[in-house]
């Protein structure tokens, strides 16, 4: 019995209540335990990634109930990879949050943080559709708390919209699950796959509705146009380290699309033909376009980075929406890149906002301007997909993989023009923020109203050293991802292969071959 | 014997039905809010009570198993209904009755609902 599989879920689930109960009044201890927890999670993630890299699909039957009757956790290459990504992402962010004092601007930051990690890991590992819903909700509700962490009128207002929109999404999730259960009579993903393949013709209409509703739910999470509206305001107004963590949330949507639409409603399944391909790709193209346009059109750094997140999701979904092994391998590589790059940019945006507010406009010089400028430059390069960082490799992979697509021309055009607009937008922002000579007479007031709400509690002594270490950690991640692009791509290629042979998954879960 | 028991049960049921109906009918028919308050007490007491009695009698005498838990519902209703009524009455006094419209409260001068320092500049809430 391989208990490692549930460890990424159980560890935060125990750590977070422990922090609440025992360490509620000890911020220092909370920080220590929180970081230790993330490190432990990273260790677990590495372990399970090592276990999964062999190519065997491991199944953990919770409560010792056989699938499909109980809930199963399934560890395959993709889930292991995503858990690893989550842990990798969490470490710099938690360090940054500590260093910047963000965790002290409201209560329960660390507990919510770990609950969020739990939700994300759970969503990646579960092999049960309804359990996926539950973990979606765990990660969502934790994100609600993290998003409104620290309060402030604008942030709370954005929070209301965020919650309301996502509640609609959760409702839709239930409608979708209900429909799928109502037709197939099962909730286990592998079992759904098995039954979908054999569905009698008289039931296809209902099943198709369920499948498309489910896809829409994931599209909301993945911020696919026109369901992305929740993202810009909420990411831009969230505490930015939290927004950095949210970089993984959109990936949960992308992951789920990949999972369900390779396993159950895959490209070869006749029943669900035409539900994905017809519109997901155009929608992804639009997403990229809107994201790129938003980067150029934003007047606030956080909002700009939020649009960066949308644009990178667009690129990712362009690759995903082709549902070929090659494109999926590219997408999985891009997932890593996009998550780290988005998070990096959010952290840098926070460094900027903490020092001089977020408007993309000339500002008084700030401390450590040179270093931050350099970091911004690196982050922008990564995000725009310029060499030498992984963004370029990712973009090349996506372009290369989509050359056989039916509408390769438009895909390429959108990706490349999108990159262009992104470059222009980021260059504009960077030059305005860092290069503009500051005219002291222009800005006299508005200083307090600009950045944080004026009444925020006095921030504790910030630790810029640690903050920069955290940011450098993210940069290092990107650099490593570039340097080891070869092995990484090999891993993702094998992962994609595994995804496109769902029979293995099904037989591993349902144990039919034994 | 069974017939008598059934008759008893039927009697309880009919009584309860009538009073349940009357209780709600009163709410429609009576015009002033305070009088309407009287109506539901019928439904609470004999209305529900009758059904519960019928149920108890039914299970004890017809099915032969001792099932008295319906009494609990009665207990709850008897405990809670006066409070409900009290609060609604207080609401009415608070909203619609001036101290001078009510009977004299003796040495205490005011009824409890009115015994409060009035805050100025509070919007009117006649819609409610």
């Amino acid at each position: 019995m391989n208990h490692w599989i549930v460890a990424p879920i159980v560890l935060p689930a125990i750590l977070a209540p422990f922090i609440i109960m025992v360490l509620r009044y000890h911020l220092d201890l909370q920080r220590i335990f929180s970081v230790a927890g993330v490190v432990a999670l990273l260790g677990i993630a590495l372990t399970i990634t090592a276990q999964a890299s062999g190519g065997d699909i491991q199944v953990y039957e919770l409560g010792d109930w056989p699938a499909p009757f109980g809930i199963v956790m399934v560890l395959d290459r993709m889930s292991a990879m995503m858990v690893l990504l989550t842990a990798l992402l969490a470490l710099p962010i938690v360090l940054y949050a500590i260093a910047s004092g963000w965790d002290d601007r409201g209560k329960h930051f660390h507990a919510l943080f770990h609950f969020q990690l739990m939700g994300v890991c759970g969503a990646f590992l579960t092999g049960d559709a309804f359990n996926l819903f539950v973990f979606f909700e765990v990660l969502l509700i934790a994100s609600y708390g993290l998003m409104t962490h620290g309060g402030g009128a604008v942030r709370l207002k954005a929070g209301v919209q965020y919650v309301a929109y996502n509640l609609l999404g959760s409702t839709l999730f239930l409608f979708a699950l209900g429909t799928i259960y109502g037709v197939t009579g099962t909730l286990n993903m592998a079992d759904i796959a098995l039954r979908v393949a054999e569905i009698p013709a008289e039931d296809t209409a209902l099943l198709r509705v369920g499948a498309v509703l489910l896809l829409l739910v994931f599209c909301i999470k993945a911020a696919v146009l026109p369901l992305h509206f929740w993202l810009p305001a909420s990411y831009a107004n969230a505490p930015l380290p939290v927004a950095a963590l949210f970089a993984i949330m959109t990936k949960v949507g992308a992951y789920s699309i990949l999972r369900m639409y390779t396993l159950a409603f895959g490209p070869d399944v006749e029943v669900t033909q035409g539900l994905v391909g017809d519109w997901l790709q155009p929608a992804a193209l639009l997403t990229l376009a809107v994201g790129a346009v938003g980067i150029l059109g934003s007047q606030h750094i956080a909002r700009m980075v939020a649009f960066c997140a949308i644009a990178s999701m667009g690129t990712l979904l362009i690759a995903i929406s082709q549902f070929t092994p090659g494109a999926t391998a590219a997408a999985l590589y891009y997932v890593f890149h996009s998550t780290l790059a988005t998070a990096l940019l959010f952290l840098i945006a926070d460094l900027i906002m903490e020092r001089q507010g977020g408007a993309i406009a000339p500002k008084p010089p700030m401390p450590q301007s040179g270093l931050i400028a350099a970091l911004f430059f690196v982050g922008a390069i990564a995000m725009a997909g310029m060499p030498p960082l992984s963004g370029f490799v990712g973009k090349l992979l996506v372009l290369d993989a989509s050359r056989d697509a039916s509408d390769a021309t438009s895909v390429w055009a959108v990706i490349l023009i999108g990159s262009f607009v992104t470059i222009v937008g980021l260059a504009r922002a960077g030059t305005l923020i860092f290069w503009k000579s500051y005219d002291a007479e222009v800005v006299t007031t508005d200083e307090t109203a600009e950045g944080e709400n004026a009444s925020a509690p006095a921030a504790p002594e910030p630790q810029p050293g640690l903050a920069f270490t955290a940011v450098f950690g993210a940069v290092a991640g990107l650099v490593l991802l570039t340097l080891f692009a070869g092995p990484a791509l090999e891993y993702t290629s094998k992962t994609a292969e595994q995804l496109f042979t769902p029979e293995n998954y099904i037989s591993a879960v349902l144990g039919r071959e034994e | 014997m069974t017939f008598i028991v059934e008759l008893l049960i039927a009697f309880f049921l009919i009584v309860s039905g009538i009073f349940g109906f009357v209780g709600s009918f009163g709410m429609i028919k009576l015009k002033d809010p305070m009088s309407r308050l009287h109506a539901p007490t019928k439904a609470t007491t004999l209305g529900v009570g009758g059904v519960l009695l019928a149920s108890i009698v039914h299970s004890v005498l017809l099915e032969g198993k001792l099932s008295l838990h319906e009494l609990l519902i009665t207990l709850f209703l008897f405990l809670t209904a006066p409070i409900t009524a009290l609060f609604i009455a207080k609401w009415h006094i608070h909203r619609h009755e001036k101290p001078e419209d009510l009977p004299d409260a003796g040495e205490d001068e005011l009824w409890a609902t009115h015994a409060v320092e009035q805050v100025e500049d509070v919007p009117d809430h006649s819609a409610n």
């Binding site: - | 009538i18 009073f19 009357v22 009918f25 009163g26 028919k29 009576l30 015009k31 002033d32 305070m34 009088s35 308050l37 009287h38 109506a39 007490t41 019928k42 609470t44 007491t45 004999l46 001792l66 099932s67 008295l68 838990h69 009494l71 609990l72 207990l75 008897f78 405990l79 209904a81 006066p82 009524a85 009290l86 009455a89 207080k90 009415h92 006094i93 009510l102 009977p103 004299d104 409260a105 003796g106 040495e107 205490d108 001068e109 005011l110 009824w111 409890a112 609902t113 009115h114 015994a115």
Partner: protein
């Protein structure tokens, strides 16, 4: 003794709760009795802070008598009120407020009295006076308020005074 009082803050409540448990279980058995008793001891202990004083109950026969009287009154009053509602025209009805001066002082007694008044249809206890010395009662149809007040004082308050004070 003090210890005993701490453990059994409200013996009546313990009895009531045990009874409630047996009713809930709906199956008179040793199991439910013992379990009910355990809970019946634990729960008053837990809720004791919210019920700091300890009402005294004496004169148990009177309790029974009071209950019977009230039950009878409920039946009678129900019929009366039903007739008023069904057959009496709104214009002919004489709704009225009555002030009942209270001799009772214990909150529990006042509560029972007010509850009784409300549960007997035709009258609803509406408010206490500012210091709790009078009870405001509304009558659905009371051409003679004095009579109603006297009946309340005679039938209920007298008995309650004997039970609680």
């Amino acid at each position: 003794m003090k210890l005993l009082r701490r453990i059994f803050p409200h013996p009546h409540l313990t009895i009531l709760l045990t009874l409630v448990w047996i009713l809930l279980a709906n199956k008179p058995s040793l199991n439910s009795l013992i379990f009910g008793l355990i809970l019946g001891i634990i729960i008053p202990f837990v809720t004791q802070p919210y019920w700091p004083d300890r009402p005294k109950l004496r004169n148990w026969p009177m309790v029974v008598e009071y209950m019977l009287v009230v039950l009878w009154d409920i039946v009678v009053a129900n019929v009366t009120v039903a007739r008023i509602i069904l057959f009496k025209r709104n214009d002919n009805r004489q709704p009225n407020w009555i002030c009942v001066p209270l001799e009772l002082r214990t909150p529990e007694a006042i509560t029972v009295l007010a509850g009784t008044i409300t549960m007997t249809p035709g009258t609803v206890s509406c408010d206490l006076s500012a210091q709790g010395h009078n009870l405001l009662v509304h009558c659905l149809d009371a051409p003679d308020p004095e009579a109603v007040r006297d009946q309340i004082k005679q039938r209920y308050e007298r008995r309650l005074k004997e039970i609680f004070e």
